[in-house]
């Protein structure tokens, strides 16, 4: 068997025919997206991604979407399944009805079919300086030491796989083009909480700005849809608290007015 048939096994006998409506966008031939239906013989063991691979390999090779790992680690295959932001490799056909809809992640620019722009997240990561800004030079033995308790403080936030489901779940992302967004802010807090890091004040230039945490109204859907239980909404509220305390500290007697 060749690689293609391994990627999308034939459903064979007993397969359930599922009608999959895909919101397609082919910029060379249409100015707005349009729906296209496929009748796909599905195994109950399949995920939505398997069904898409079946379409691509056997029904319509022109369908475009991103995927890589097929195990909810790479964060590439996010899309709206029945209107819900979902990793298509993590959604099983057996849990879905005989007719499903698949659309590109909401609130993001659509490049083609299910492929969306990622610059919202990538620009956000740069804007919030989502990297370690060392508090001090490493000790003489060239290692930063960290206790298990210090690690535990930020570890859940490191689970982010940049899948952008949280952007699709957040109406604020659509309402304010400048809003940094849930994942980038959560990853800013990931470094703020790191005992080795000293960059929280620097990050506040963005995170405490009009495009930062104060744009969040705590709808909380970002955390609900997160496949890695990162809780960006919680991280953002913690940053609101830190930002408020910083504001107060600047105005307290003896505080720095910078």
């Amino acid at each position: 068997m060749n690689a293609v048939s391994q990627a999308s096994p034939s459903a064979g006998q007993g397969a359930r025919i599922v009608t999959i409506d895909v919101l397609r966008y082919r910029p060379e031939q249409e100015s707005t997206p349009s729906w296209q239906s496929y009748a796909v013989p599905c195994c109950e063991e399949w995920t939505v991604l398997d069904a898409l691979n079946h379409i691509k390999d056997h029904l319509d090779g022109s369908l475009s979407y991103r995927w890589s790992c097929h195990m909810a680690v790479c964060g590439s295959c996010g899309m709206m399944v029945n209107g819900n932001p979902t990793l298509s490799c993590k959604a099983f056909m057996r849990d879905l009805p005989d007719r499903i809809s698949i659309a590109p992640l909401a609130n993001l620019g659509v490049i083609r079919d299910l492929v969306v722009q990622q610059n919202r997240l990538l620009d956000g990561l740069l804007a919030v300086k989502s990297w370690l800004i060392p508090r001090e030079l490493p000790p003489r033995d060239d290692q930063y030491r960290q206790t298990p308790a210090q690690l535990a403080k930020y570890r859940p936030l490191t689970m982010c796989i940049n899948c952008m489901l949280c952007y699709a779940a957040c109406p604020q992302v659509a309402l304010n083009e400048g809003y940094v967004g849930p994942a980038a802010l959560a990853l800013a807090q990931r470094y703020n909480l790191d005992s080795r890091d000293g960059g929280a004040l620097e990050r506040m230039q963005t995170t405490a700005s009009d495009d930062g945490v104060w744009e969040c109204t705590f709808i909380g859907e970002c955390s609900e849809v997160c496949p890695k239980h990162v809780d960006p909404a919680g991280a953002i509220q913690q940053m609101k608290l830190a930002s408020s305390l910083q504001w107060l500290a600047q105005r307290a007697p003896g505080g720095s007015s910078s």
Partner: protein, 128 residues
């Protein structure tokens, strides 16, 4: 920017699209009732300062069916407001014991406990 990228627009009724969005909008709406009731309390102080007659007139106004209906609505909104925010509070508070985060139930429970204690103090002070 690629001119051929399609940018979706968010419909004005986006908050009706998911039950969680609707619950969020309801939670936000409750603050109007809470704010209105706070203004009512300030007004009550004002009337109290104007003497016994003004205070009795104010109390009588509060006892009309319409005023009672409004206070019941405000009570429901206040309860929804409190319960939803107490449920969210643990996620805002990053408390840790050793390598473990303090369970959400403890933090929410502490909020409910404070609520009960403060309400009891108010009741005692008011001579109920």
């Amino acid at each position: 920017m690629n001119a051929k990228v399609h940018y979706p627009t968010l419909p004005g009724n986006w908050w009706l699209k998911r039950p969680s969005y609707l619950r969020y909008m309801l939670r936000e709406l409750t603050c109007i009732a809470i704010g209105a009731f706070a203004i009512l309390l300030v007004f009550a102080l004002l009337r109290l300062g104007q003497g016994a007659e003004a205070w009795q007139a104010f109390r009588a106004a509060l006892a009309t069916p319409l005023a009672i209906a409004w206070q019941l609505v405000a009570l429901v909104f206040a309860l929804y407001h409190s319960v939803t925010w107490f449920a969210l509070a643990p996620r805002t508070m990053l408390l840790q014991i050793g390598t473990r985060r303090v369970p959400a139930g403890w933090i929410a429970g502490a909020h409910y406990l404070s609520w009960v204690v403060l309400s009891a103090i108010v009741l005692v002070l008011s001579g109920a």
